[in-house]
């Protein structure tokens, strides 16, 4: 059984074939786990201002919109007493029409 190897020789891979295979393999981009890829992209985005410019502008616009929205919502509001009185009178009227349960 041990001399089977000698009786079935395999033609070795030529150096040219090896070089071709290696060149073909390294021509493809490497895949990285997402935390590594994200860190690399972030580092590049911070060091090159042009890298991911569209995303940077979109993020800036989103920040501005959020900031404006929150800022407007935080402004103090006055209670609209007249409006509340009007709404409550409407509710009372509809109660009377539908059976007068509220007026009881």
């Amino acid at each position: 059984m041990t001399d089977l190897k000698d009786q079935w020789p395999v033609a070795p891979l030529s150096d040219a074939a090896k070089a071709r295979m290696i060149a073909h393999a390294v021509a493809a981009p490497q895949l990285r786990p997402w935390p590594q890829a994200a860190t690399a992209a972030l580092e590049r985005a911070l060091s090159e201002w042009r890298y991911g410019l569209a995303y940077k502008l979109a993020a800036a616009a989103a920040c501005i919109a959020l900031g404006l929205g929150i800022g407007l919502n935080l402004e103090p509001r006055e209670h609209d007493v007249l409006g509340l009185a009007f709404m409550s009178s409407l509710t009372a009227q509809s109660g009377e029409i539908s059976g007068g349960e509220i007026s009881e």
């Binding site: 089977l4 020789p9 070795p12 891979l13 295979m21 290696i22 393999a25 390294v26 493809a28």
Partner: protein, 185 residues
Amino acid sequence: MNDRTEDARLMARVAAGDAAAFAVLAGRHVGRAHAVASRMLPTREDAEEVVQDALSRVWRHAARFDAGRSAFGTWFYRIVANGCLDRLRRKPLPGVTMDEAPEIADDTADAEAGLLARSRTAAIKAAVAALPERQRLAIVLCYFEDMPQADAARVMGMNLKAVEALLFRARQNLKSGLKTVLSDD
């Protein structure tokens, strides 16, 4: 520095995108991988495609390799072995035999001896090709590539006992397939 440590060191550089380290690492293993694939698959082209695919996978997924979990060789030969098995499932071996045997220099200048050697090679190829896939892989790794059975078990994703059982059955099948060749010895 032993082979495993050297492989792990090279693989760390490959994971960082070092193509030169990849060339060195591939150069250390590609010959043996090609020999395994050549003995498993019907044609030389199939063998080269499987090895090419395995190299591409190693390069693309280098960051996934964990030197603490397995040796690079085990990982790489496992990719090659799985590639061979996948290819055999898609394209089973033809019934007769494989490629023509590579031409061997006839040092003895004895044409009859050369003819006998070629017919033996053809008989061995046919007997190995007739084995079930897993038995063939076990035989190729352990007997043709001199891989320790424990390493072959890791490459095949099996336990040692299962590989021993596969080898036992493969030897039985080979002996019956090679009766005429063995009786000539």
